[in-house]
Symmetry: C2
Subunit: 130 residues, 2 copies
């Protein structure tokens, strides 16, 4: 497990991403497995709170369950379905971004248009579109 503190991507996101990959690959089976907050913290050289932040994400996504005093446990019931959806999204985003870059659109512009697109789409969802 490697971490790059200088990356613009937050450390806790890097950790969450790698954990997601390992879980979907079956490295961490259903049951206990996941290393404790402090153990993983000293291994990566970060604050335990940063690890907690990553675990929090996985908990909200429902692919993991935490028991105070005991540890972190993998639920992994249906990560297959959402996993495929995320894989589609990952590829779609990559294709869209690559196309935009070759079209000469600047990275900052792409980021701005993404923010606006998200904002618009979420507003439409509020009004009962879906």
């Amino acid at each position: 497990m490697l971490i790059d503190p200088k990356s613009p991507i937050p450390v806790y996101q890097q950790i969450a991403t790698q954990l997601r990959r390992r879980i979907s690959k079956g490295i961490y089976q259903s049951g206990e497995s996941l290393p404790s907050l402090r153990v993983l913290a000293v291994e990566l050289g970060v604050n335990p709170n940063t690890i907690h932040r990553a675990y929090e994400e996985l908990t909200r996504e429902g692919i993991v369950e935490s028991r105070r005093g005991a540890g972190l446990f993998v639920t992994a019931s249906e990560p297959a379905a959402t996993g495929r959806a995320e894989l589609r999204l990952e590829h779609s985003l990559d294709r869209t971004i690559q196309r935009a870059l070759t079209d000469g659109i600047s990275p900052e512009r792409i980021r701005v248009m993404f923010r606006e697109a998200m904002h618009n789409r979420l507003e439409k969802s509020m009004k009962g579109d879906a």
Copy 2:
């Protein structure tokens, strides 16, 4: 011209977006046209610096040219080509986001995956991919 200060999208971006739309629609022709910093500032009820920030974006994109003491002038040579590319990007982003949402992926997760996708794609571009 309307502005929403409560929106998560920065005010200067809202202004820049609306100006871009107006220019591409020909409301602001090649020549002078664009209202001055302070005039537009009092009209929208924001600081002149915020307007300047929007003008700065359009200047970097080359669709406008500013002359100190005189005003802002529309160049509008080839906004047609990049305009089409941006339109494609806008649609592609919207389709991608809508698909992800209907697949049950959370907005925060979409934002995170977009950040990572941008990061990865830009790293590849550095190494001579394009």
